[in-house]
Symmetry: C2
Subunit: 339 residues, 2 copies
Amino acid sequence: MIKIAIDAMGGDAGLATTLPGIISFSHSYKSDDIEFVVYGDGSLIEKYFAQNPCQCIYSIINTGSKIISCNEEPIHAIKNSRGTSMYESIRAVSDGMADAVVSSGNTGAYMVLSKLLVGTIDGVLRPALGNVIPTKTGRTIMLDLGANTDCTAEKLFQFAKMGKAVAMILLNKRNPIIGLLNIGTERIKGTEILGRTYDLISQDNSLNFKGFVEGNNITDGSVDVVVTDGFTGNVVLKSIEGSVKLVAEILKEEIKSNILSRIGYLLGLKKVFNNMRKNFNPSLHNGAPFVGLNKVVVKSHGSSENIGFAHAIQTAVELVRNNFVESIKNSLGEFNGEC
Amino acid sequence: MIKIAIDAMGGDAGLATTLPGIISFSHSYKSDDIEFVVYGDGSLIEKYFAQNPCQCIYSIINTGSKIISCNEEPIHAIKNSRGTSMYESIRAVSDGMADAVVSSGNTGAYMVLSKLLVGTIDGVLRPALGNVIPTKTGRTIMLDLGANTDCTAEKLFQFAKMGKAVAMILLNKRNPIIGLLNIGTERIKGTEILGRTYDLISQDNSLNFKGFVEGNNITDGSVDVVVTDGFTGNVVLKSIEGSVKLVAEILKEEIKSNILSRIGYLLGLKKVFNNMRKNFNPSLHNGAPFVGLNKVVVKSHGSSENIGFAHAIQTAVELVRNNFVESIKNSLGEFNGEC
């Protein structure tokens, strides 16, 4: 059995998303070897599952209504985190009671608590938040997406190595192509840190390095892994989501505004747009692993819906099944970084 | 008459884009009060205009074939820049021979040479590269887009003030809403520099400050000006262009793959997609002003086509007509920044 600890109180909607998410997962994915340990307000959770029976194996750990809010500063959140569903669900994996934990809660607090309780793999300078982004030819892994707002060359070098391991599992690629995000492709472009990172990755023969890539290369399928600092990665990811949403909305309005195009839409394009929406539905790419920790810790988007949370659970399951932590350890090779 | 100096040799295609761009401008925009001073290989330019008569007023300054390549480091480029079309066209505005200069050449070299020859407005810490981005409700100005890879709080504060002036002219907004790009909207989020910038802008009552905005807010129309450092701005702009292009391409393929949707497309959606393409055609937003210089200096995208270069010229004209430099000076108010 694979045991997944669920922080049921996390995210904008809390239980209203996480519990339906568990049910949605059980309907959508192979789950007969999955056991959920659900952390949160016991009575509410019991009540929900009584009204909405889940075709899954689960146990409930009552942590009451104590939660970490989304706006709390990590430092402050940690002080008062004991007993919260987030803290206890992370502790479950650190204690070996569960194989992975999934939460939609405060990203900063989740990251810091995970590092404290689960610990960082020896040699890892900073764990990173990685996620899948849809591209023209398939999908790409981008990291970091917000765990580290500033990064040294050594950290970025490690993100490249760890990103390779993530792509091998989540994208099923044998020798993932790695790109380093910059404002130009020439070696002279960008910051001094990126220049040094470029050299570090270039000198590592185990990495299939394409060199510097630009913003437009993230979605054109030219690389499997995009390496960047957490600030840039976070802003870029949201920019891409926003612009894709915008295009869809404008197309919708344009179509409505014209009777012929409305007919055309009903005639054959409805399906096209549904495929499109499915392709780019952030929910179907939800579930960002913290890369570099001693256990599988997956972050679900705070505003993700049921299906999104279900996909985050599936990501956690996939990572456990493929010995994610071992893969990351192996990817690091000889430790040659500096803090 | 408004005199526009043209660096005809700049950009990926050089004369093959800039000269048709001038002609395209003369066809598309009111140009009877515009005079072009075209810098480049005189014989080639004469030959082109002999074969492709331009309905415009122009003079040619022969700078031969000497150019600054796109990959040259600014420092090195500057040493050998004397006599190039870029150098001489910038000098034209600095000498008062022209009101504005437009180039598609090496951005770094163009920036440095412009600062050297044209000079920075007193009190401006660092000029910024600003540009227009299509949004749900219209357009927004984002700056910096690559002139400053790292920025202090004081620089970003000035970008906010100068961005307001740009939005008032190019977006025709009376009191533009300003957003500061970050990885979250709460004051506690992001870097220490962004926190200090947040406070500086908040304390300035002349600025209509919305606070921190995230990547998805760039295109959702919630702000008129997006303030960010040049690294983030450049990567984000290209990410947005790339993802929009991707959506269009996938839709096209989806439509082709289905006979009913092909009929639907021909029936009424072709127009929709053409409007869409027009809306998001980077060419129709090409022309990024260097904000904070003593003259109007406009950067055209290196890979822009004729129409794009024409639009960059139009941007320069619009800025000259609206006393851009004066507006920037007024926007700065009392100088209170530090290098």
